[in-house]
Subunit: 308 residues, 3 copies
Amino acid sequence: MSTHLRHLITLQNMDASTIQHLLNRAESLREACAHGTRRIELLRGRTVLNLFFEPSTRTRTSFELAARRLGADVVNFDIAGSSTSKGETLLDTLHTLEAMHLDALIVRHRESGTPEFLVHHAASAVCVVNAGDGNHAHPTQGLLDALTIRQHRPNFNLLTVTICGDVLHSRVARSDVHALQALGARAIRLCGPRALLPDPSEFPGCTLHEDFDDAVEGSDVIIMLRLQKERMIATLLPDEAAYFERYGLTQERLRRSASGALVLHPGPINRGIEIASEVADGTQSRILEQVANGVFVRMAVLAELLAR
Amino acid sequence: MSTHLRHLITLQNMDASTIQHLLNRAESLREACAHGTRRIELLRGRTVLNLFFEPSTRTRTSFELAARRLGADVVNFDIAGSSTSKGETLLDTLHTLEAMHLDALIVRHRESGTPEFLVHHAASAVCVVNAGDGNHAHPTQGLLDALTIRQHRPNFNLLTVTICGDVLHSRVARSDVHALQALGARAIRLCGPRALLPDPSEFPGCTLHEDFDDAVEGSDVIIMLRLQKERMIATLLPDEAAYFERYGLTQERLRRSASGALVLHPGPINRGIEIASEVADGTQSRILEQVANGVFVRMAVLAELLAR
Amino acid sequence: MSTHLRHLITLQNMDASTIQHLLNRAESLREACAHGTRRIELLRGRTVLNLFFEPSTRTRTSFELAARRLGADVVNFDIAGSSTSKGETLLDTLHTLEAMHLDALIVRHRESGTPEFLVHHAASAVCVVNAGDGNHAHPTQGLLDALTIRQHRPNFNLLTVTICGDVLHSRVARSDVHALQALGARAIRLCGPRALLPDPSEFPGCTLHEDFDDAVEGSDVIIMLRLQKERMIATLLPDEAAYFERYGLTQERLRRSASGALVLHPGPINRGIEIASEVADGTQSRILEQVANGVFVRMAVLAELLAR
């Protein structure tokens, strides 16, 4: 492994070998778990703290399971009842937690840049793992999506990938693009209503599409993004039916893609808004594989950061 | 053991030998714990998830302690902050959790039938344990009540049991009746205000009583149910004092029962509403024994489902 | 050790040898942890329950980490979702939890005397640890403050200590005074606005001060208390700026103290209200050492109570 990974903040500028190494480690852990190795004691005695400023039971649980399956202790720091709600600054919270001798801090925050801010101000050897910050990055999601794709399509340089939905505000889209570009994906198409498409300069090498039928044409992988209901107005597609009509992944649209194209979604899915139930539950859906891979990818990241 | 227990949804139609087997296992675990076996590693490496859609700290804690004392990892899935509150369907939640490789799902839900629904749609080998669903069933409560009674009165066929309160809406009453009938209780009397008594056809072999003094007469076991304050109006007993007057278990009423009759209550108790403090705290009260047995019964159930 | 410690409710009347013994044990644990002993299995199989009626994520997390690092299982009993909010009495909650065979109960409650009440009514061998009750006591805070001071100034009989802020309502101040007096501190000055100073008869041997400049003069240790915003009105100092002007610890005021005086604060700090940022983050601040010592002191207390 070329890069010395101390924290995981973003996949931007991460090289292919580092990503492949993490994915390989996730695969090894998956196999170890499948062969009855019920619990790996790699992180025994280590303490991992979930610091979620935005609620996300799914992601928090995935990290919690990952850490526990490596033998670590996990503490959930409940922000709602904490002194941060009494006005303590983020840095005071950081330094207080560090003083308690934590090995890793899993951070989710609505403001982009928060995990990096914590890294810059950390006074100890604590490892920071970004579990999603604003529109910026969600690196473990990017890795688990890459792992899921690799399990079916190991040659990234043959792949056309379409990411559809609210790309503009999506940290998932950003981390996916970073992973896919590093791994050499042939083409990445970003698709959505004009108001939800990013500035093209942010995504060199990607193409932007307002017409989902065009974008899906010949795609090998289609990553659907969750539509936040509050974004609906901005799209000029005033209701869910109208959005689904233009940007929902239906069985019919899926037929335009390459044969056996993979369907991904970070979850939780909005059935009938961004994806048809028959597609979400269909044979091409990899959504539950993504969830399973999420635990293994997070185990790999924690093992990499804490057990080197 | 005749029946192969894969899930625990209800005690209805469970045969006596299965119930006795579970109670025996609970007793063995109780003895193991009493003799200083501080932690049994039977479920080491297994993951149990508490999925409580209705809050119940007591029952959740009892399951959590049971699972931990068998060496399992326990994750509390906080529904309030979860994507189910963002509109994810119950099945999507189920399949997402299954994809994370859980061994058991402890489910509480306000709608009857939810645990069975999960069993029918589970895609993995996950075991579902019903921790209370609507008015339908609360099987571990039925088992712990049976265990508590058996510790004092092992011959069920000699017993007259009175269950008093809001029988109509009580999953505890239903699971108690199922357990008691399977174990051969001689007589079961269901007592409460008319509006809170069930249709007699639902409880063949039980007698219905509006007069608590009559019902308690000669009873060997009296199970008091918790009165939900919101049911008060339906009873035509418009206030707590009036309810207590007619359906509260007082020392005076208790004297009508068989000598040394056992007093049970699933908790938390409403003192002065369904039970007098002197009875709740009296020598015939088995309420705290029920709590203690609850942990052992839940250990037995988890061991039975997960460590066969 | 002279006194047989069964519970930890208050430091009042605790003798110096008991306190020194606990501080020594905390130091030993600190060294064990520093030398790579990642986890001490002293309390393996024991169950510790956090029973916090007042929210405090920091203190709860500190206790949780302490218990886990000794190998105990920790259960967080969430009062908000519990039957205590359905009207169950405190004693019923106590006895229910005891029936589940807990080894220790960590209690925080807004009413003074609650932990002692629980001790008097406990039916089992459960150990009660006071994590803060009303204005009464916060003994682990007193111990961790004493430990922090001792690490820098082991001769308490040479020390002048000033405690500044809302002394009247502060359980921290009370436990600090009890520890410091037992350990032989030469002088203790209590300082704050008149409305927030206690009756002098409650603190024999301490002096009361309204003028912070006078109080800080020559002090070796300055313990700043957190100002609850709701107390502001009572102080006749109607806003934060006015409070800070008279009772905030600034670099300028700090210069009046003895050379190298230690600055302590129980946290979370209100920057610019009771303490200037440059002091909180300055070289004389021991605030983060207090947090670190908090975990070791709580480990020592749990070890002392549960592993004797």
